[in-house]
């Protein structure tokens, strides 16, 4: 496999990890959070991350890589907001809880985003040649 293909596969795996963690969190506990749409946002994340993984594997266009990049960054921003006093949708949580899910998800989001940028840069360089 060439480098772009490997990068796209890695991006897909990263996206799937993001989705699986959020789906698991929803099923384990967060569907019970008494804040409207908070639980649904976890399901939405899982769907979006899975969609991103499929898109990046199926669609050859460089713009397809933007989908997992946006999903990873949006999820990272949402996590960060949930750690502020204002929270996200009124939901706040402190530290790296739940353990280890929060750390796993953030790591997957950062790695996925970096891989997306690498994939896009690789394609950009190739197109420039």
């Amino acid at each position: 496999m060439n480098r772009p293909t490997v990068l796209r596969a890695a991006v897909a795996i990263g996206s799937l990890v993001i989705g699986v963690v959020h789906l698991r969190l929803y099923l384990d506990a967060y569907r019970d959070v008494p804040i409207e749409n908070l639980g649904r946002s976890f399901v939405l994340n899982a769907i979006a991350a899975t969609f991103a993984a499929v898109i990046v594997l199926v669609v050859a266009s460089r713009w397809a890589i933007l989908v997992p990049l946006i999903v990873a960054n949006a999820t990272l921003v949402a996590f960060g907001l949930s750690r502020t006093d204002r929270g996200i949708l009124g939901f706040t949580e402190q530290g790296w809880r739940p353990t280890p899910d929060a750390a796993v998800a953030v790591l997957a989001e950062i790695v996925t985003a970096v891989l997306c940028v690498m994939a896009l840069a690789s394609r950009h360089t190739k197109n420039s040649d």
């Binding site: 384990d28 019970d32 008494p34 933007l66 990873a72 960060g80 706040t92 809880r97 739940p98």
Partner: protein
């Protein structure tokens, strides 16, 4: 080149917001060794589950932590009563007051935290991890 720069900007903004907001995560009071007024105790086992209702003057008050909420959120007791919180959620919770009067350890599923009410007052408490989770205890003489 412009498109690539825009993409890198999107990625960097995500990292920046995430990192900036995470800096607030440990700003909560975390000195949990202070001496609380009520006599607290934390156990990792559930209290004995008696189905017999206590008499009116009984001193055991139970609060369940479930579905990211304290149940009941408001209770009343008298000095000498024992209040016990039991976490029935699959996520970690705790019990805190802003003045550290109550300062439980992190409670995993099945863990309990107990105090004995010593002063007539209203105790407003919350979960330090999920600070929208709040409850209160009205203590009568």
């Amino acid at each position: 080149m412009t498109a690539l720069a825009a993409i890198v900007t999107i990625a960097a903004s995500g990292f920046a917001v995430g990192a900036a907001t995470m800096s607030d995560s440990d700003s909560r009071p975390d000195e949990r060794t202070s001496d609380p007024g009520p006599v607290p105790s934390t156990t990792s086992s559930s209290p004995s589950g008696s189905s017999v209702a206590p008499p009116p003057s009984a001193s055991d008050l139970a609060i369940t932590i479930a579905k990211f909420a304290f149940d009941p959120p408001e209770i009343s007791g008298v000095i000498g009563d024992t209040v016990t919180w039991t976490n029935e959620d699959d996520v970690t919770h705790n019990v805190f007051t802003s003045d550290q009067l109550l300062a439980s350890a992190d409670l995993e599923r099945g863990d309990t935290y107990s105090i004995v009410l010593e002063d007539a007052s209203v105790i407003d408490y919350y979960c330090d991890i999920h600070q929208y989770m709040r409850g209160s205890i009205t203590v009568a003489p």
